[in-house]
Amino acid sequence: MKHLVLFLTAMLLPAIAPAQEIRLPANLEKLSAKAVEVVEVNLDQKMLQLASRFMDPKDPDEQQAKRIISNLKSVYVRSYQFDKPGEYSDSDVAEIRSQLQSPVWSRIVGVRSKREHENAEIYLKSEGNQITSLVIVAADPQELTFVSIDGPINPEDLADLGGQFHIPEVEVQKPKPDKGAAK
């Protein structure tokens, strides 16, 4: 009986275990045909290690990048820019969002701005105190961006990059606790 339970567990484990990486849906790839500008970055661990060997030790941006990618397993980016709104629909990112509904993922930020029409969601997967994966889904009417970073990463490193790469740094403030919710 004990062996049977072990056998069934071994057989069922792959089915119930959460996927290690986010799969890019095929319909996301189809958007590249409609987009006027496409960025596709696929970097596995081997490529990340290769890239880190070519980082200029005198360049602070590259040294920061080297530090960030040193333990990463993969980095995938898809960014589609469209010449007019309405070229993509919510269903195009629904499959990614559905993968991120798994309990191992926590959505730490979900921003929907009616003023700027910019939506951004940040999901984290963690083991203990260590963040092991990060996914960003950002959408505005003419741009859809998906970033998946697999491997131990400190999100503050990404925030720190605000001072690098010529991007003005923005201070992240935690919203004040809602008094109503605290009751």
């Binding site: 930020v109 991007i167 403030q173 004040k176």
Partner: protein, 125 residues
């Protein structure tokens, strides 16, 4: 008839070889064998001597080809590394920029939360 017999007998009479004949035959055979061997080696040596320049040219060509292949492999590896580096920088640039979008919205909305209820922000941090 008798004379014929005598002539035949004289012609077919067994005669011993001159003294040292066998040694001279063996010595000559050995000398010819040595000569043949020397000739073969000399031919090979001469052939090599004739083609020495060609061998040297072939070695130089091989060295140049090996060097070229090595250089090409190194150039390809460097190009691949530089391309990977550019992709990393681009990916981090985009990730950082999108992080900044979220951060900017959180900052802006938390500042104006009570004033303008236009935006919805969920921060689970």
């Amino acid at each position: 008839m008798k004379r014929l017999e005598e002539e035949l007998r004289a012609a077919l009479k067994r005669e011993d070889p001159p003294l040292g004949f066998a040694e001279r035959v063996l010595a000559r055979a050995a000398a010819q064998a040595h000569q043949r061997e020397r000739t073969r080696w000399a031919r090979f040596r001469d052939a090599f001597a004739i083609h020495r320049l060609q061998w040297a040219a072939a070695a130089v060509v091989l060295a140049v080809i090996a060097g070229g292949v090595g250089l090409r492999i190194e150039q390809d590896r460097r190009a691949e590394g530089e391309a990977a580096k550019r992709q990393v920088m681009l990916a981090l640039h985009i990730a950082s920029a999108k992080w900044q979008v979220a951060a900017r919205e959180i900052n802006g909305q938390s500042n104006a939360r009570t004033a303008t209820p236009h935006d919805e922000t969920e921060n689970h941090e």
